[in-house]
Amino acid sequence: MSTDFARRSKGFRAFALGLGLLSLAAPLRAGSILVFAAASMSDALKSAGAAYEKRTGETVEFSFAASNLLAVQISKGAPADVFLSADDKQMDLLAAQGLINKATRRELLSNSLVAVGLAGGPLSVSSAAGLASPEIAHLALADPRAVPAGVYAKKYLEAQGLWDALAAKVLPTGNVRGALEAVVSGNADAAMVYKTDALISKKVRILFEVPVKEGPRIDYPIAVVAASAQPKEAGRFLDFLASKPGLALFKGYGFLVPAAP
């Protein structure tokens, strides 16, 4: 009897402990707005959120994931107030379903493409045409069929008339981080990635940057979600991000800011 009881009460104690920890670990913040954003922007957005809270006393929470997953979640009624996509396509999809407030949509940021090689490596490539040289046996790209960074890179290389020559040595990876890792690990000699990602890694160096005029437009659109229960608060945060101090924060992380109209 006594061991039976001890076993049962041990189980109960673990349960109570679990519940207790759960409630401790999860403070509920009422009244704050929820921003859905691409995982690649989480650092910049977190500091923007902190700056906004300090300035206004209003709280902002984020949920970070891949843009396409975020779009699906919003289409299924996720309680997001603001959507910041790493890709126009996802925002267009939501707009077509009437799920975002179109009047609030704007292109908040943009990015540029760069080619990278191993830091301290021997590559002497300094232009797009150089990618075709035999110095580069493998060129890593985020999957050019599906992942936006790869799609943009392919579009650019096609425009330069280089794609046919390069296609055979392209090494497709799951995402931008994968392309960078391929260079670091030596599986690829070079990669084309976003400038913001290239700047993060100390193990790679930028070979050349695609001039904004030659490259495809890489935009990060933002909008207030149509179903938001706090559209006014959401709009205020959006305005803050687009303000001078807001944009300055993003510049610090290597993002480009669209030229003032």
Binding site: A14, L21, A39, K46, A78, P79
Partner: protein, 222 residues
Amino acid sequence: MDTLRIFVFTASCAVVAVLLALPAATGLGWLLARKNWPGKALFETMTTLPLVLPPVATGLILLDALGRRGWIGAWVWSCFGADIAFTEKAVVVAMGVMAFPLLAGSARAAFEEVPRRQEDLARTLGLSEAQVFRRVSLPLARRGLLSGALLGYARALGEFGATITLAGAIPGRTETLASAIYSRLQLGQDDSILPLLLLSLAAAFCLVWVSQQWLRPPRGAR
């Protein structure tokens, strides 16, 4: 500090998820092991699905049901004015659903291991079916149930796809060990991943070690 908090949150959610799923999974495991009923094969297949489907797909199905527009989510919203999706409850639900097939499968195997003779014997000694279950089947299946619970817990602890789909990855609210590693990976913050990885590794090591201790029968018994 952030690392520790994320770990404690993830571990607690997994504990609650497993404890909530365990009674139903144990009951189902027993039904599968001992009873025949119409639709058994269909039901069995359905509960195994989360094991086979891509976790994101499981998450999307859950989101369809529990989101504010889902049939369960809408009902909860109208009754209590509370969300399930994108809250810590969603983390628990996603983990519980992903762990469920492992719990039920282990329970089934554990009950199948219990000799029917022992249960029959208890019946001839005057025990009702409920008493046979509580005093013979359950204690004899204990070892298998415990190791199954541990396995399910390990699964819940590392679950990513279903959790991030149903609960998002809201720092300080629904961000788990797995989604924290994912978002830091996206940012290339290899240094801040390291403590998370070490904690995950330590937890996984302990779980596997303890489950092997439990699986090993004690000296002398049967």
